[in-house]
Subunit: 120 residues, 2 copies
């Protein structure tokens, strides 16, 4: 008997915020869980779209000219090359889908830049 | 103000089973909602892995030598080339992630083969 990947169980395995953890790979894409709270850095991903699926809480993503609120049970695709800044008032739990090798802070580098390919 | 994609709202827009509906694209990948019940056809996708995220209910995927049960809040990656057959005793609602152009019945064709690129 094979085992499915339980998102709640995987989320219980780490507390760090802004540090995505890989839980699955599909071709050259990764599914990553992350816990986000507070303000992230403005950044963009020049080579790829990026998907956020909110599992618990509410995520706001600011763009230079608008914002989107993503609640539990909702998803959003940030288009390639578009500058954005995630924000969460209280901790939000998200599932991120993007190609292997994408750095969380994109073209920006700061103390929120996370190590890639960390699995839980 | 931009709008997120609400999975429950999108699921309410169709009743058909085994007929995936596209709700988002990320690069050359699609996110598709589907309602599944009963037995599907044995098939494989020669060129791609396939992700199932269960939103409501329980999905069983049979392989030739094993099975996996995927409940609400769980996901599973069916590897490229591996023969499989989804099954659901009662209706299960799933989010499927796979490259644009993948046919639901893979290398098999029958009356469950669905039209591609149908958006809700």
């Amino acid at each position: 008997m094979l085992n499915a990947i339980n998102l709640t169980d995987k989320l219980a395995l780490f507390d760090e915020q802004w540090a995505p953890k890989v839980i699955a790979e599909m071709n050259d894409y990764q599914f990553k869980l992350a816990k986000l709270q507070g303000d992230f850095v403005w950044h963009r991903h020049h080579d790829t779209d990026e998907v956020f699926i909110v599992l618990d809480g509410e995520l706001r993503i600011d763009f230079r000219d608008s914002s989107v609120y993503i609640s539990s049970g909702e998803m959003y695709v940030v288009s390639k090359g578009v500058e954005h800044k995630p924000f969460a008032d209280t901790e939000v739990k998200v599932l991120i889908v993007e190609p292997r090798g994408v750095v969380n802070t994109g073209d920006a580098t700061n103390d929120q830049t996370a190590q890639n390919d960390v699995w839980v």
